[in-house]
Amino acid sequence: MIALYHHPKTRSSRFIFLLEELEAPYTIQQVSVRSADGTGSVDPANPHPHGKVPAIADDGVVVWESPAIALYLTDKFAKNGIGPLVGDARRGPYLSWLAYYGGVLEPAFMSKFQNTPVPRGTAGWVPVEEAMEFVIGTLSASPYLLGEKFSAADVLYATTFGMFGASPMMPKSPAIESYVKRCLERPAYGRAQAKDNG
């Protein structure tokens, strides 16, 4: 039984979506979080070392960081084929896209948001415009990040673009708009939205 440590309308919401896609047995453990504006508080029930969400616990095994949680879950709950397994031809690209999410895309958006530079050569990431050029190029050529088939990588990217949608940080892109629509039209997303508040 997977316990998802969750706070409504945050990055943990998309893991309800993923768990629904996987048809994995899970419970939602709603926790308080410290917000960027200083409100809220760290919840002692949350095993995340910095009191953030998402985190999961699998019979006492704690996992955090979105790319790690996505990989851990798709490796454990394989029946719906939501993440290429070891030995699959798409495993390499799958791992690359998951790692790119945490190591490049998120820092790129954060750099833009907080107006810090992206020093080439020092930073492991690139400016958001360059990252999005790569993502848009990929999604202009195929319906999902890995090609024809939806995967957990799309759970991370599509929900993020959905969340940022109207923000001036997001480049306007028909490819991204149709991608987000395609992913968020999935029944599992609808079921997840209904459960977001607990």
């Binding site: 960027a36 070392p49 910095h50 699998d58 006492g60 095994v61 704690v62 996992v63 955090w64 960081e65 979105s66 790319p67 790690a68 990989l71 851990y72 490796d75 454990k76 070891v86 031809a89 495993r91 390499g92 690209p93 791992l95 690359s96 998951l98 790692a99 790119y100 945490g102 190591g103 490049v104 998120e106 820092p107 954060m110 948001f113 907080q114 810090t116 530079p117 020093p119 080439r120 050569g121 020092t122 930073a123 492991g124 990431w125 690139v126 360059e130 790569f134």
Partner: protein, 199 residues
């Protein structure tokens, strides 16, 4: 055949170490990059078919391209389980293993960059809190000899590489770091990798 696209004295140096730990035959393709100090030059545009931003490292394993250090580590350790560089899927340490690889990439790297560049002089950036991260890392290494537990894994290549790089500068002096770095430096694969960094 494994090919590593590599530039000496860069992040790809960690992957040379990882490949030495893996023990499989590999070749190095020296790839030009522009370094942080402005030295070097950009790779040709053709390299973009390997890495979208012309960075290193990237690997080609019989036609499968993988980039991002954490992805390369995950891919190689799982593809060659004989090297025992990762807990197997289903092993209770697998959770910590995938977490530390993602934490290195998504938290440690940006938080260290912020501290290095002074973006967090007034308050922590949105990347996270450097002191919180550093404390957590030190507490983890106080509990067991390697970052995931009692055995060396591919996560130690990345986390150990970062600690080694910033030891004595951004990172406070700690016995746990000294012990950890000694254990890693003693590894023959680490020494072979340092000798191979120039290709």
């Amino acid at each position: 055949m494994l090919t590593l696209y590599h530039a000496p004295r860069s992040r790809s140096s960690s992957i040379v170490w990882l490949l030495e730990e893996l023990g499989e035959p590999y070749r190095i393709e020296i790839t030009p990059i522009v370094y942080g100090n402005g030295q070097g030059q950009s790779a040709p545009e053709t390299y973009r078919r390997i890495h979208p931003h012309k960075k290193v490292p990237a690997i080609d394993h019989d036609g499968t391209i993988v980039f991002e250090c954490a992805a390369i580590a995950l891919y190689l350790a799982d593809s060659f389980p004989k090297a025992r560089l990762a807990p197997a899927i289903g092993d209770r340490r697998r959770g910590a293993y995938v977490t530390w690889l993602a934490y290195w990439a998504g938290v440690m790297n940006p938080v260290v960059a912020a501290r290095f560049r002074g973006w967090d002089n007034d308050s922590p950036t949105g990347f996270g809190d450097f002191d919180e991260m550093e404390n957590f890392m030190a507490q983890t290494l106080a509990r067991h000899p390697y970052i995931v537990g009692d055995s060396f894994t591919a996560a130690d290549v990345l986390v150990g590489g970062a600690i080694g790089f910033f030891s004595g500068t951004l990172l406070p002096k700690r016995e746990v770091y000294d012990g950890y770095l000694e254990r890693l430096a003693a590894r023959p694969a680490r020494q072979r990798a340092m000798a191979r960094d120039d290709g």
